[in-house]
Amino acid sequence: MAFKIIVCAKQVPDTNVIKINPKTGTLIREGVPSILNHDDANALEEALKIKDQYPDTHITVITMGPPQANDLLFECIAMGADDGILVSDRAVGGSDTWATSNTLEAAVRKVGDFDLLWCGRQAIDGDTAQVGPQLAEKLGVPQVTYVQEFELDKDMKTITVKRQMEDGYELIKLQTPCMLTAIKELNSPRYMYMSGIFADKTMKTWNAKDIEVDLNTVGLEASPTNVFRSFTPAPKGKGIVITGDTEKEIADNLLVNLKEKQVI
């Protein structure tokens, strides 16, 4: 029987390109491309590596978002995933992580049994790192987050991973099915294959009805958290330029200033 992997991925604005308009204090979104979230690309790459080794592996990518998120499925399939599902519905718009995990849970259940569920650690637009664990909780499978190294035993059941910690790692063994979240240290994601770009692709779009999700558990209304206010960080006032005729004088002036502020 084929080894089944589901990868959850998100299309995000490239936050490296986003700038703030200094006059209005608003985000400049123009020309900011939508990209496959970095950690999710690592998650997909690890799934693809399993498929490289065991060609009988089937990889399904699930994403949630507006219709344009189909581009993400296109990219993932061009990289080597077998098929993709976009969950897109106005009813799930404005979901927080709890409501998002309810939606994804329903989609994963509709896809069916899996051996591995891969997510990225976090998305660069929200940086919450919550959806993976919350999805695992809803699906009732164990999780390991911050996976920096992964190994699948020949029995196709036992998994050994290294979980990154602030000052080292934990070596963990567990059994499939389970949910793992990938970090950038795990691997280097491949590019799309030319043949993958031109090949026919299996991409489905499901709405809330298709995944039979309880509408009272998804979308903005059901989300336990709401955005109260949002704003751009305040730019600090201009600092003091330390000058001097020599480097020694500059150093002295700096130290006088720091002493003045009682920080040294």
Binding site: D71, F74, R190, Y193, M194, G196, I197, F198
Partner: protein, 380 residues
Amino acid sequence: MNFQLTKEQEFVRKMVREFATNEVEPLAADIDKEHRFPEETVEKMAKYGMMGIPFPTEYGGAGGDEVSYAITVEELSRVCASTGVIVSAHTSLCCWPIYAYGTEEQKKEFLPDLLSGKKLGAFGLTEPNAGTDAAGQQTRAVLDGDEWVLNGAKCFITNGGYADTFVVAAMTDKKKGNHGISVFIVSKTDKGFSIGKTEDKMGIHASSTTELIFQDCRIPKDRLLGEVDGGFKIAMNTLDGGRIGIASQALGIAQGAFDVTVDYMNARKQFGKKLSQFQALQFEMADLKTRIEAARLLVYKAAFTEDQGQDYSEAAAMAKLYAAETAMAVTTKCVQYHGGYGYTADYPVERMMRDAKITEIYEGTSEVQRMVIAGKTFKK
């Protein structure tokens, strides 16, 4: 009329842009300096199917189109023109004639390895006394039993030093001039075949340009491509396609030089202002941008015409002529806007200007392109 790229073409650009940024750009300055052919890059491009884009999957191609191929060469050349021409010469000048004129047996024998990038291809037409004037060929092929015997030499052959498979033109009937030329598939390992000297060029340093030498080079009879004495048409049609590749390379060089110059103008301050704040420079850049876009339309139009199965000979000549002269003009200006720094190898525009020059010369000089276009104009 629809100027929109297809979804596939857009993703080809995205893929090659990422690939070029991560894998090609970091090497570009070094391989230029070292005159080193980037074998590791070719291996990576092969892995991702970039060596067989506009060919059907049944022969191991990517199943893509000519416009996607043009975009690929453009995006590679945007950061490294040498890498761009490796793909262009391989695809247009070697894979294409085998695909277009080969027998089913020849296609099955040669294309899978070429299109998957396991083998690299090159094209041998030019000789010391015969460039685009193919009738001056001195390399001869004589049928001896079941073998063709080739004698002579080719020069300025792109990919020469690293190719495995060569599409080579030779005279089979000197009296008939152009109509006495035949085309053959020669393998690097064929007896009597060797690589001559490597050229020391002004630009595209990382591309391998060599002589090919045939000394009683014996190849099986079935390596003849197309008909005996029917090679002129193959060679000319091959060059038509090659011109789209070189036009794409020129387009990429122009765009690359333009992009780094925009960055430079945003960073560089003179007389208390950023360069980008001088209106004279702004207007100059606006003109260059317009010119590049005009070149792009001609290049894509030529590729699109080929995709439509229509005659693209004139469209390819126009694209090549205009894109090459654009590349030269744009890079020259961009070096100028960099000032003294632009003349040093610290900034990529120096390399780009040297690389741009060749696009006005190979696969038919600008003068030859004008001849083609004029020929189409006044023929009737």
